[in-house]
């Protein structure tokens, strides 16, 4: 028993740090504001818009991800690995770059409308609530697809073999094999996407077409900056935390517990989904997803690459700073995420703690940290450590979310064997945990690195005015009319972000003994 408790210490420390970051900062802001302020009418409509668009975005992303992930699992073709990596790209795109890409394709002057106009069809508009949802699907379909693909890969191929020899059709496969996996993975995926969309700010505003698309995050921003009403900002932040925790409870209730189904790590069965109809269905799913996700990215690349040479030197030094921060944040994320993910299957609090940062408003977190640090040190001297910690905290929910299903599987499959061999501590970590989790760890590391690259100085209050990251340089270029160079910087950011993500993901694959 004592050893069991001791094993939980790292997870408990992680959880405490996150709680302090999210709830402690909110507390600091509330104390400074002298309590919570009353919400106003527009705040409530912002709340309503936030919830329904997030729910719809999450549902659509997950629903569309099922056929895409299944197709990617069943089919083998040239460049499949690369395509899977590329399809992950939108999720890690910096918001500004993604919005630029979507507008280039679906905007008034985009390809789609040019094509529609050429054949005399009416224009479609991306501006409005549907545009916000389309953009959220663009961002989050990749996450859902990857999480489901991992789910499919985690079903032992022996089971598919057995199903094939029993003559299962697609409906029976779905019911007996894929259905239970979906019920284990989908609620978590939907939750993560719901939470991402809940705290969305720039996308909702830019593509929303007007103030009807106001999210809670924007209302918080408004309370802080426009009304200087910290107490209302604190109330809104609390509402946001409450909403997220509510969503978390719902997802835990509908998630199916894992069953033991250890396999022998054989490669996936060939011949799954044979037949013309299924083949056509899979081809269509892959082609449609690729077009939707990759064309906007290709557009940004084509526009930005010619200007890369003209980028000022300071942009390149900003690249160095950004890479540096990304590396540090990634290590920190993994160090905090792994204990939580390993504790989560038995202790639900670990999972809840890991989701906490998603509920946080970046503005409230930054302000709270500032208020806490200020009496002791000059906040500008903390610029880099605070950036590292904030980045790590904000990417941690995804890392843990990715690790949990496989950590659960790992424990269901190997706990008894490990216990009977007396495999514990570092030896267990080295021989069992790390190798078995290499694949999701690589993916999680890639995501954290990508998020840290794309971070737009979450903590502006700590800025020292000298340290310049690539996203900040991009923003400053845009703010001083240099939009061509900004397009170049956006391309550079996108390429570097993707390269980091891809490298981590590949390392994970290679380290996987399977």
């Amino acid at each position: 028993m004592a050893r069991g408790l001791r094993q939980l210490i790292p997870a408990a420390l992680s959880a405490a740090l996150l709680a302090a970051l999210v709830l402690g900062t909110l507390g600091a802001v509330t104390i400074r504001a002298g309590g919570f302020g009353a919400l106003r009418g527009p705040d409530l409509s912002a709340l309503w818009f936030t919830v329904w668009q997030a729910a719809l975005s999450a549902a659509l992303s997950c629903a569309l991800a099922v056929p895409v992930a299944r197709a990617l699992y069943r089919r083998r073709f040239m460049g499949r690995g690369l395509l899977i990596s590329l399809l992950g790209a939108p999720f890690i795109l910096p918001t500004i770059a993604a919005v630029m890409g979507l507008i280039a394709v679906f905007g008034r002057r985009g390809f789609v409308n040019e094509a529609l106009g050429a054949v005399g069809l009416p224009e479609v508009t991306i501006y409005g609530a549907h545009g916000v949802i389309a953009a959220h699907v663009f961002f989050n379909l990749p996450l859902a697809t990857r999480m489901l693909l991992h789910g499919w890969q985690a079903i032992p191929s022996e089971r598919f073999r057995l199903a094939q020899s029993l003559g299962f059709g697609p409906a029976q496969m779905l019911r007996h094999l894929e259905g239970p996996m979906l019920r284990r993975v989908l609620p978590g995926a939907a939750l993560a996407i719901f939470l991402v969309c809940l705290t969305s700010f720039a996308i909702a505003l830019t593509l929303g077409g007007g103030p009807r698309a106001t999210t809670v995050e924007l209302a918080i921003y408004q309370a802080f900056r426009f009304d200087f009403d910290m107490s209302r900002a604190a109330s809104l932040a609390l509402v946001q935390v409450g909403l997220c925790l509510g969503a978390l409870v719902v997802s835990l209730l509908v998630t199916l517990p894992s069953s033991s189904e250890a396999g022998l790590d054989r490669p996936p069965v060939a011949g799954l989904g044979a037949g013309l109809v299924l083949r056509a269905q899979d081809t269509l799913a892959i082609a449609a997803a690729s077009a939707f996700l990759l064309i906007p990215i290709a557009t940004i690349l084509m526009r930005g690459i010619p200007t890369l040479g003209a980028l000022p030197g300071s942009v390149w030094s900003a690249v160095g700073t950004s890479l540096w921060i990304a590396g540090g944040s990634t290590l920190l994320t993994l160090a905090l995420a792994l204990p939580l993910a390993l504790a989560a299957p038995r202790h639900r609090w670990a999972e809840a703690a890991a989701m906490l940062p998603l509920t946080a408003s970046a503005l409230v977190m930054g302000t709270g940290l500032f208020l806490i640090a200020r009496p002791f040190v000059n906040p500008t001297s903390l610029a880099l450590p605070v950036t590292l910690i904030a980045n790590a905290a904000l990417s941690l929910p995804f890392a843990v979310r990715i690790l949990i299903p496989e950590a659960r599987q790992l424990q269901a499959d190997y706990d008894r064997l490990a216990a009977s061999l007396g495999l514990t501590g570092v030896a267990r970590l080295r021989l069992l945990t790390l190798p078995r989790l290499a694949r999701p760890l690589g993916f999680a590391a890639g995501l954290s690195a990508a998020f840290s690259m794309g971070d737009l100085g979450v903590i502006t209050l700590f800025s020292d005015g000298e340290t310049q990251t690539l996203p900040l340089a991009l923003f400053q270029l845009m703010g001083s009319y240099r939009l061509d160079q900004a397009a170049g910087a956006a391309t550079l950011l996108m390429v570097l972000t993707f390269a980091l993500f891809w490298a981590c993901d590949r390392i994970g694959h290679h380290a996987d003994p399977r």
Partner: protein, 328 residues
Amino acid sequence: MRKPLMLAGLVIAATPVVAEDKPQLTVYAPDYFTSEWGPGPKIEEGFEAICNCDLKFVAGDVLPRLLLEGERTEADAVIGLNTDVTARARATGMFAPHGQDTSALSLPIAWEDDTFLPFNWGETAFIYDKTKLENPPASFEDLLNASDDLKIAIQDPRSSISGLALLLWVKGVYGDQAPEAWAKLAPKVLTVTPGWSESYGLFTDGEVDMVLSYTTSPAYHIIAEEDDTKVAAIFPEGHYFMTELVAQLKTTDTPELTQSFMDYILSDGFQSMIATANWSYPAVIKEGFLPEGFAALPRPAKTIFYTEDEAEALRQPALDEWLAAFAN
């Protein structure tokens, strides 16, 4: 666990410790200010040449940071405040008089504030491409009555200073009729962006026909890009005045140095470089302060401006009208 902590430790250790004898002047400024494309580096260079001091800009959210820090702030002066926050800033009682002669200012409006000192100015305007928009609206009224096919991008008044200026502009032109004006304008608004740069990007990409920006925006294209196709639509109803301000803090530990910084603001050295460093008019315009392309920009006949108290009183009702116009 240990590696990231070590890394964090290295960061702290690697931060250079400046131990010079020169006194340091700390000035809070907005984010855009300190980039190499902003006015910060030139101001720093110009002032350090005469002050025998180290001028340090701290970039970020100027007023929120100051409000959080209160009397214990390390700022000696702040630069880049807008008129929309001066009421709030003044109420803190943290600022000292600037001590400059405001009659030297070349603004289109009278400026008698003894605390907040303008260092540049401009007016809001809708910018269009004259090769693409054949019949640009000749007045605000024309814009309201234009076909709904004319698409414009504006900024959100809740997150952007130029977006707020548009609210006050409409209020200034249409007064009690502002809700009707917004009802006519709303269908032409393709989208509302959080900040100025996203809107302007939509315009340069050809996604919108007109964008809410400044009368001085064409100067950038003319001077830096040799492109004279971007034009500000000048409306006879008038344009809303915008300025950026400097102020010194009572709590400065180097009052003489801070005062000399305030004196530097209206000096020729500072004012002569503002036009191209900030793409706006300098607060003091003398011979040669405006490059050719700048001097030739068309000027509105009328400038609209609300004093800080008027603007403060109008802000919330104007915002509610704006929200209502977009609600359906």
